[in-house]
Structure formats: structure tokens, C-alpha cells
């Protein structure tokens, strides 16, 4: 059986035909015409899905279902996107409209949840019942897989792991609260911490960058710069303690890490593992493994497609 996955981003729409096992057969992409509004973008989504199906040598009738990953909040049951800042959408009935345009069963979920499903079907968490996926980028996105299925909660708003509060009264967050984990554990946070440290330590390698990136902080730490190492140590501390919270809530078998900061690889994971050893509640019992996500840019297409698999 074949499925189509559509990954809708602020700059591009990617569609792919995916088989039962999560392998991509054919792909097509188009720029996201955000300025033309939701209806035009959905017509493009249907168009690019059709192109991918044609490239795969199939017809739309041979597609079991179409899954869509949206960069925002939505109710997977009704398929209505109440708002999506990146796309400028408001109260958009995605399932209804995309079904009209394609004639196929439509499934939607948010992009982090979709990526979690991709890792769970064909990536680092393949075959694992309970897993959590984290994406460390501008913010911290989270996806939860329980019993092999994506868990979206009662009202579709679960797994907002970046907005769980680890520092009550701390840094102001975009969500209106203070002290959300993503203020301390995102790439944005790593950059902020790096800039603060650079200002305090003009002798540091960090002070030489005019527009410091998360990669600059990581590279400077790898090169042994003391200030960068201290910043990175604090950053992995924040990450590790948030992961303790994930373990104390959900006790997943694997916590998979993706997103920009995950490019640091084992240099990122090893200190987290060392810290978790100290911080987990039950020190004599096994606990979650921390691994790098492996699906990369394909996660959006594959995960969206797998939303249509009956057992996912």
C-alpha cells in the first residue's frame, strides 16, 4: 500500500509517496505561497501531491490516504487549524478542503508529532513502543509516541514539551508564560547564552563572532574555548533536566533528538547522558536511551504519510 505525506513549511511544501515501511518512492516540492492565503496553499498541496504520485508511476486512486504535517496547532480529529503563525492561517478546515481536492482520506497533525512518528516507523525509534522526539531549533518541539501511535491528547494540544516550565518565574517566553524549557534548551537559548558569555568574557572565541550562531558556540566548545565550554555545559544541564522531566512523566524507551543543535552529535549527547545518570529518580533502574534522530529532512514527509497507516 502507498501513502502520500505532505510537509507544509513556511517556505516550501514537500510531498512524497511513501510505502508501508516508511520508504519514500517519489517526491515533489513547490514554494509556499503564504501571501495567497490558505485556499491557494491547499490547492498547491494537492497539486504537488499529484506530481509525486505521477512520478511514482501511480494514480491517486492507488493512494491509501494522505497525511499532512502542519507547523502549528490543530485538532487531528476535526482537521481544523485554529491558527498557524508561520502560514498565517486562521480556522482553516484542512481535512475537509484537502479531501475535496484529492478525493482521498486525509489525516493531519503538527510537524513535531509527525516527525516523532517518522522516527518511530522508520528512524531511530523503529519498533519501539514508547518514544519521545525532540527538535532543538528556534524553539523546542516535541512529539510523543505511545504504544506505537502518535499521542496528541484529548484536545490535540499534547506534547508541547518546549513550553513546559522548568524555571518558574524565569525568562519571558513567546507563549506569555515565564521559564518555559525552550527559553533554555533551544538553539535560540544557546545563542543567547553564548552572547551573554561573550560580553562578559571578551577574551573568549565567542566574542569574535559578529552574528553568533548555535554552531559557532558548539564549534568553539569543541575547540576547547573555556567560555564556550561553560556555556555548553550549562546548556546540556538545561537539556538534561528537561529530559529528567520527560522521563519522570513518560518513561519512554528512547528520547530522540533532532533539529539544528542535534548536528553537534555525540558531543551534545554524551554530556546529557552523564548528567542523566546523576539526575534520574531511580538510579538503579534502566531508563530512557538518548539517541540522535536519523530521518533528517525526510521526517516530515514520511511521518505525515504514516498518519494514514491504520495502526499508526
Amino acid at each position: 500500500m502507498y501513502y502520500v505525506g505532505i510537509d507544509v513549511g513556511g517556505t516550501g511544501v514537500k510531498a512524497g509517496v511513501v510505502d508501508e515501511s516508511g520508504r519514500i518512492i517519489a517526491k515533489a516540492t513547490i514554494k509556499t505561497a503564504v501571501e495567497k492565503g490558505a485556499d491557494a496553499v491547499m490547492e498547491d498541496m494537492a497539486e504537488v501531491a499529484g506530481q509525486a504520485v505521477e512520478k511514482a508511476g501511480l494514480t491517486m486512486e492507488e493512494i491509501e490516504a494522505i497525511g499532512i504535517g502542519i507547523p502549528g496547532v490543530l485538532d487531528p480529529a476535526t482537521g481544523i487549524v485554529p491558527f498557524c503563525t508561520n502560514l498565517g492561517w486562521h480556522q482553516v478546515p484542512v481535512i475537509e478542503r484537502m479531501h475535496e481536492l484529492t478525493g482521498r482520506p486525509i489525516y493531519v497533525d503538527n510537524d513535531a508529532t509527525v516527525a516523532a512518528l517518522a522516527e518511530s516507523v522508520a528512524g531511530v525509534s523503529a519498533g519501539v513502543k514508547n518514544s519521545v522526539f525532540l527538535t532543538l531549533g528556534t524553539g523546542v518541539g516535541g512529539g510523543i509516541v505511545i504504544d506505537g501511535k502518535v499521542y496528541s491528547g484529548t484536545h490535540g494540544v499534547a506534547s508541547e514539551l518546549g513550553h513546559h516550565i522548568t524555571h518558574m518565574g524565569g525568562e519571558k517566553c513567546t507563549c506569555g508564560n515565564r521559564g518555559c524549557w525552550e527559553r533554555y534548551a533551544s538553539a535560540t537559548a544557546l545563542i543567547r547564552m553564548g552572547k551573554e558569555a561573550a560580553a562578559a568574557h571578551p577574551e573568549s572565541a565567542l566574542a569574535k563572532f559578529t552574528d553568533l550562531t548555535a554552531k559557532d558556540v558548539v564549534d568553539s566548545a569543541k575547540a576547547g574555548d573555556e567560555t564556550a565550554l561553560a556555556v555548553f555545559d550549562q546548556y546540556t544541564e538545561e537539556l538534561a533536566l528537561g529530559m529528567v522531566n520527560i522521563i519522570n512523566f513518560l518513561d519512554p524507551e528512547i528520547i530522540a533528538i533532532g533539529g539544528g543543535v542535534s548536528a553537534a552529535g555525540e558531543f551534545l549527547l554524551e554530556p546529557i547522558r552523564q548528567k542523566l545518570k546523576k539526575y534520574v529518580f531511580y538510579k538503579d533502574l534502566p531508563y530512557s536511551e538518548i539517541k540522535l534522530a536519523t530521518m533528517g529532512n525526510d521526517a516530515g514527509i514520511v511521518g505525515a504519510a504514516m498518519l494514514g497507516r491504520k495502526d499508526a
Copy 2:
């Protein structure tokens, strides 16, 4: 069909025969002979289960399964309790031994999880797919029900909600970490905050108690004492923000509150609901209802019994 539930506490062992719907048919209790060790306590557990079955006018062969709630960590799959401070147990094979003693299929889980199941089968969360149960006592215990089943995680250590960190670097916790939610949201925390406020405000009603209890703080706040009201306001703030974390992780339909502090009733719940309105991530979408648990002291027996129900 009939089930036996056994609620093992540090002072007493309670057993009850429970029907399919979570109704208790007969009960029996015995003091917990902690000093005699795990084997003696398990013999007493089998004994008191037998007494309850006899009172119900049944024989052990008519009992579908026996469920046991343990006040500590354990692996529900193997039934081994690695350690339980309250009972002084270490590496106790509860399923194996209790099966030898009773001949019935045995299920075990920790007491907060068992209480969550009781509320989900026959209490405030009856008929609800996803719910969280919190017990506000000496610590903060948590139980998670997903899709009508208790969720214990991959290694049996999920739902340690009291030990999720809300104040990184904050108050030292019994678990070795700092800033765990239960340091701010338990009855113990309410007492600590009350004592600190009493010392700072000798004019307060709180300063009149020689051995301040959580109930004293609640009663003084209800009576309008300004210091007590400020303490209670801070306490409900801590509770509400931890519940925001529960919502951002799990988006349950209901968060049910039990334990000593829940005796404050609507006086506790109303400020939490007001604060949640401000703090939830998606302010235009529906979110968890906050309700009082209704099973009281029977939660342990009923929830343990329901562990044996095939669909629970």
C-alpha cells in the same frame, strides 16, 4: 466477574472483593507487620484477601485476578519491587510469591497509578479516555491513564509527576535533585510556606499554631487571614503551573485531585482554574477540567482490583 484488590500501606493492608464495575462487595483489613519482613507481609496479604473473599460469599477460584497497589516503585511487567522505603522491601518478587500463595493471576502497580485507575473506572474520570490523577499529601503522587489504561512507561517508572522539576536550582528534594514540583505543591510544602510566613508575620493567624498543619493554613485563608491568603495564593500558583506542564505534556480530559490538601475542595480548585485560564498555551482551545477525586479511601482497593480487568 470478581476481582480482589489489595492496598498495601505502611500501617495497614486492606483487601476487597470488587465487581466488574468497580463496586466493593466485601472488605477485610490487617495491620502491616513491616518489622517481620516482606515474606510475612505477603502471607498476611494472602490471608486478608482470603477473608474478604469469604465475606463476599465466594471462593478464591471464583476470583478472576488479584491486583496489588504498592507504595513505591516496581516493574509491573515482572512484578518485582526493587525497593520500597515505607515497607522496607528490597528486590521482592511480589507477583511470583503472591501467585504461589493464592493461585490467582497477580497484577501490581504503584499506589498513585492504582488510584488513578480507580478514579478512571468508578470515580470522577469514569468513562474518560485520558486522565491524570494527583495526590497532594506528604509528597505529590501522580497517575496517568491513557486510552482507559494505566500508563506505567517502558520501565515502570512513568508518572512520577511530583518529581518533575519546576524550579531548576530550587529547594532540595528527597530524590537528590533540586526544585521538584512536590517541594512546592505538596501538603509538606504548604506547611513550610505557612511556617515561613508565620515567622515573618507574627500578627498572622498562622503564628498562633504550635504545630501548623496544611488544614490550618487552608482554614486561616478561608477565614480571611491576609498572610494565610498570600501563602495559599502562592501555593495554588505552584499547583497551577505544574498543571500547565501536565497539560502541555499530556492534554488530559480531566486532572483529578486527591490527597489531604484536596479536602479544601472548591476553595482549592477555583483559584487553580482562574490561574490556568491565564497560563494555558492555547487560550482559545478547550483544555483539561480540574476536578476533585471522588473515590477517597476506597481508591486503593478498587484501583488495584481493576488492574486485573483485561481492558484496564
